[in-house]
Symmetry: C2
Subunit: 136 residues, 2 copies
């Protein structure tokens, strides 16, 4: 049984900050659950264009408000506590938090923790990541 | 892209009530994410003995307090908002909510929505479930 506290994760390198967001990785690939589980904060006023080509992601909004734009259809959906969106087709999307938004996010396959968003907003697949490591 | 509201799910048969708990299945196996995602309420004062033999489960506590007992070790852990437990070894456990607890739960493999807890507290594997359907 794994027991973790969000407060403890915040103090480790499992808490990742980037432009417009911060994410506490409560469970990563190495935990062997077959998915990763993140508590992610999206900052007010940011515009987060994302395309996870190699991962499916589901996001439950816990606090705050904003919108998500589906770039395939142009549809814009309101986000607030109790709303879930799932990128079941690796959907290209833009999230625009109006206030700070707190979310619970699940990725399949699990994020390893070593990925960075590439220029398209995707997390590289593990193999792509390996190829990206420069030879010394 | 899938968009769902907790409030809407509450009004469907994806909202399941049983003794001591209630669960809104935001994502099920049929949604094709490779995991299921539930918003589950555990009622104050209940004692929930569970053993998911066929599923790994992670639970993030969103509201309320209680404890979880690991039946393999006898250890008891405090649960409150921001705590996560993961049953990475199909751990037998007892959750004892002191107050009503709201949780976000992820199952791998995904729950189909047709399972019921059997006498051991497990969700049967799909095959077992098929075998359990009485021939007419």
């Amino acid at each position: 049984m794994i027991i973790r506290k969000l407060k403890d994760i915040r103090a480790t390198d499992r808490n990742v900050k980037s432009e417009g967001w911060e994410s506490a990785r409560m469970l990563l690939a190495g935990d062997g659950m077959g998915f990763s589980f993140h508590v992610t904060t999206l900052y007010a006023g940011s515009e987060l264009k994302m395309h996870y080509k190699n991962h499916l992601e589901a996001v439950l909004v816990l606090k705050g408000t904003g919108t998500i734009e589906d770039l395939a259809t142009g549809e814009v959906h309101r986000l607030k506590a109790g709303m879930l969106y799932a990128l079941n087709e690796n959907d290209r999307h833009i999230v625009r938090p109006e206030t700070e938004m707190l979310t619970a996010c699940v990725f399949n396959p699990p994020v390893t923790g070593n990925e960075v968003h590439d220029e398209s907003g995707a997390y590289p697949a593990e193999e792509q990541l390996r190829q990206a490591v420069p030879a010394e």
